[in-house]
């Protein structure tokens, strides 16, 4: 085989292997989900969309699941609530993480690896265990309440557990590294002489911050926000362990439909709508990643 032909086959394999893997196990499943969402549930399994009997192929597409999603206020409310909590989490993460990332980026270069390591260390410890720890801390008979009772600050335990407060706290806690890292990466690359130039031209430190630093860190803000917002919409474990009846999120609904009601088509429909909801931020994230890659390669 000639050198160029060999090279072409080599490149085809290089791209082909991961591509086929992704198509088979990422893309195809989405198509399956959609197909199942428009089918009906049989006693143990779902009745297939296509049926073959007496030489006749029938297609039965049932949009009933989608109708109930659209009409039932419960589902609608849950979707909106999920988006709301996710957005709030992303915002709070941003507000906490930005000054933090800024401080690390501005600290002396030799201290930075140590600081980063200290930020990442909890991340390497299981997130499940850390969420469980918050259960202990926030419970009615938990550490915080006990401390406050002992100090005499309160007479009765404050209900912190199973509330929107505990949910948001848990989500912020888990996702904050995803906000800190992209912000840090952008801030540390920023050219400090730009700030010096701004101050030299008469800007106050506050003005320099809002007009120079923040716009230049836009890429980090977007990446971080997407990395927090999108997964939070479909979060299951945190609402399950730290949330309560008021904080029903769509991830939990999907789980219950699948594991609880054994209604696979319904779960699939819930999933499809969830994907549609996040498709805009998802596309934004993709475009942003592509641009960042192109810039890095140039």
């Amino acid at each position: 085989m000639s050198a160029t032909a060999l090279a072409r086959w080599g490149s085809r394999t290089l791209i082909g292997v991961p591509m086929l893997f992704l198509i088979a196990f990422f893309l195809l499943p989405f198509l399956v989900v959609f197909k199942i969402s428009v089918s009906e549930m049989d006693t143990v399994f779902f009745r297939d969309v296509l049926a073959w009997a007496d030489g006749l192929v029938t297609i039965k597409i049932n949009f009933a699941n989608y109708f109930s999603l659209a009409q039932d206020g419960l589902y609608l409310g849950t979707y909106i609530r999920s988006l709301g909590y996710a957005a709030m989490t992303a915002l709070i993460c941003l507000l906490i993480a930005y000054p933090f990332a800024y401080c690390i980026a501005r600290s002396p270069a030799d201290k930075r690896p140590a600081l980063l390591m200290m930020v990442m260390l909890p991340f390497w410890t299981s997130f499940l265990l850390r969420i469980y720890a918050w259960k202990i801390l926030l419970a009615d008979s938990g550490v915080f309440n006990q401390l406050l009772l002992v100090l005499g600050v309160i007479a009765e335990p404050i209900k912190m557990m199973n509330t929107p407060f505990s949910l948001i706290l848990g989500m912020v806690y888990c996702y904050i590294p995803f906000m800190i890292l992209p912000l840090y990466a952008t801030l540390v690359k920023m050219d400090l002489s730009l700030l010096e130039a701004a101050l030299d031209l008469g800007a106050t430190p506050a003005q320099a911050f809002w007009r120079i630093t923040v716009p230049l860190s836009k890429s980090g803000i977007i990446a971080g926000s997407m990395l927090v917002f999108i997964p939070c919409v479909g979060e299951f474990v945190i609402p399950e362990l730290l949330g309560g009846p008021q904080t029903l999120m769509i991830g939990r609904v999907l789980w219950d439909e699948f594991f609880g009601n054994n209604d696979w088509p319904m779960a699939a429909a819930v999933a499809v709508v969830m994907v549609l909801l996040i498709i805009v931020p998802l596309a934004l994230f993709n475009k942003h990643q592509a641009e960042a890659n192109a810039k890095a390669a140039a």
Binding site: V17, F30, L128, L254, F259
Partner: protein, 277 residues
Amino acid sequence: MKSKQLRAVVWMGIVFVFLYLPIVTLVVLSFNASPMVTSWGGWSLKWYSALADDEEMISGFRLSLSIATLTAFSSVFLGTLAALSLHRFKRFRARTLFVGMVNAPLVMPEVIIGLSLLLMLVSVQRLFGFPERGFSTIWLGHTLLGMAYATVVVLSRLQEVSPSLEEAAQDLGCRPLQVFFLVTLPLIVQAIGSAWLLTFTLSLDDVVLSAFLSGPGSTTMPITIFSRARLGVSPSVNTVAAITVAVVSVAVVSASIFMARAQRRRDQEMAAAYRLG
């Protein structure tokens, strides 16, 4: 200390306390003789010895460990291939689709990935008789997720490597495959190692994907922990937590020290060379 610096230190201090409080709490509680959080029963190691008899947890751990190890290898393999493809070939058919698919698992909610993968595998099973839900399906799901992370890590390192190094290798007589093994690979090996550790940890810790993709007899450790945690406080979980924290801390801290020392030595060598001209 200037007030601005003081504010910075205080803010960082608060955030660090926020980050570490839960971990420290768990570690302390694991030594609590009383199983309740409300009372302190004195220092005790009894929960640690109880763990040795906890069959469910131990078998879960063993399963998670093997899945995590395999996942790390498969993720790194596929992720490196994907990163090389994206780095080397700026234009090819379906590149945008490829990029989208590689990045999506990073942000996609796990319930969606889990459900969709499971539904597809079940459909396949109905048609072909395999695969059975269990070890292999969990491994598959974890690899899908791990691959996305591995690609990001390896790709960012590849982008730092100067293209003239590969050209120089070719100029000196290396065929493309030789270029990869003799020049590219040694330069990205550290990133591959990081990707391995990252995907290993992710797999070890995963709940949702494992729950959707597991079958009878394939209960991973996180699933066990999750079901116990749902019910309330459990001393066994505290103990597992403390052990995890200890292992991870030692690993991360020693790795950081090692890398910092290597970097410092490198900087000194470069400075010395520059001075002596």
